[in-house]
């Protein structure tokens, strides 16, 4: 009964798109609800070591959202966008922009696709399209830098123990 929960990230070189794919052990309606209901979304979308706060989130076609991640040092990272389409339980499409970048317009179009799988399971595909390859690589690299600093803080902890 070991079923795949392996995360798949696809970012082909030189392309403006990015896929994040993951299967979940719950029916599609439930998974969709966790993506579109702000009181549920806030319980899982925050990155490691960050506190997530939703400023506003109207989970409907034509709605808008904004949320803030706060790190342990109190630095705030704001994200916002408009919700283009909510089609339960199949699909939700929104724009996404990180407010902390210099200049504006580094926006991506993000589609979340929900597929029902046998055994009451669900496959989620997050498909982001960026305005340029550089924007996409920048987004992945931002994760990379965070990953590195997390790696460093873990290393610091390790070294402190010695």
């Amino acid at each position: 009964m070991t079923q795949s929960k392996q995360l798949k990230v696809i970012a082909e070189p030189g392309k403006q798109e990015l896929f994040v794919i993951r299967e979940l052990d719950a029916p599609r309606e439930l998974v969709f609800e966790a993506f579109i209901n702000p009181t549920l979304l806030v319980q899982w979308l925050g990155p490691r070591n960050m506190k997530m706060k939703i400023d506003y989130f109207e989970g409907k076609s034509g709605g808008a959202y904004r949320y803030v991640h706060t790190d342990q040092n109190g630095n705030e990272y704001g994200f916002r966008g408009v919700i283009h389409e909510v089609l339960p339980p199949e699909r939700a499409i929104q724009t996404f922009e990180f407010e902390g970048l210099l200049g504006k317009g580094y926006v991506s179009l993000d589609a979340a696709i929900f597929e029902a799988l046998p055994g009451n399971r669900t496959r989620v595909t997050l498909h982001s399209v960026f305005r340029s390859v550089l924007d996409r690589d920048g987004k992945v690299a931002a994760g990379m830098e965070r990953g590195i600093s997390e790696g460093f803080s873990r290393l610091d902890e390790l070294l402190a123990k010695k």
Partner: protein
């Protein structure tokens, strides 16, 4: 020290032009002009990229007669073979949180039905 070197490699490959330069010279060494010809970027900008790549050990410059050739050194890249890893790790964490939430949601649904 190794951590510092690894960080430099991450920085080097965070830039798409630098990644393109590495893949361009991976199969054959080229001089600066030949590299610059492949990009719509100014020559000084390419020089700067090559300087960074040299500093983090991804390129070595070899003098051949009058020409200076850039040769790719791919070993440092092994450390970052999967450049998506930290980004993936962030999403793995989120989906694990989501797994927990969904488990609770399923439990609640069952108790509500009773």
């Amino acid at each position: 020290m190794t951590v510092q070197a690894r960080r430099d490699v991450f920085q080097a490959i965070a830039d798409p032009t630098r990644r393109a330069i590495i893949s361009l010279i991976a199969s054959q060494s080229l001089n600066l002009n030949a590299i610059a010809d492949n990009f719509d970027v100014s020559r000084p900008a390419i020089s700067q990229h090559i300087k960074i790549l040299t500093e983090c050990g991804l390129i070595i410059i070899k003098q051949q007669g009058r020409e200076r050739y850039c040769e790719a050194q791919l070993e440092p890249l092994a450390a970052v073979a999967d450049w998506l890893a930290p980004f993936s790790s962030n999403w793995e964490y989120r989906f694990e949180q989501l797994d927990n939430l969904l488990t609770n949601m399923k439990k609640n649904k069952k108790t509500n039905k009773k």
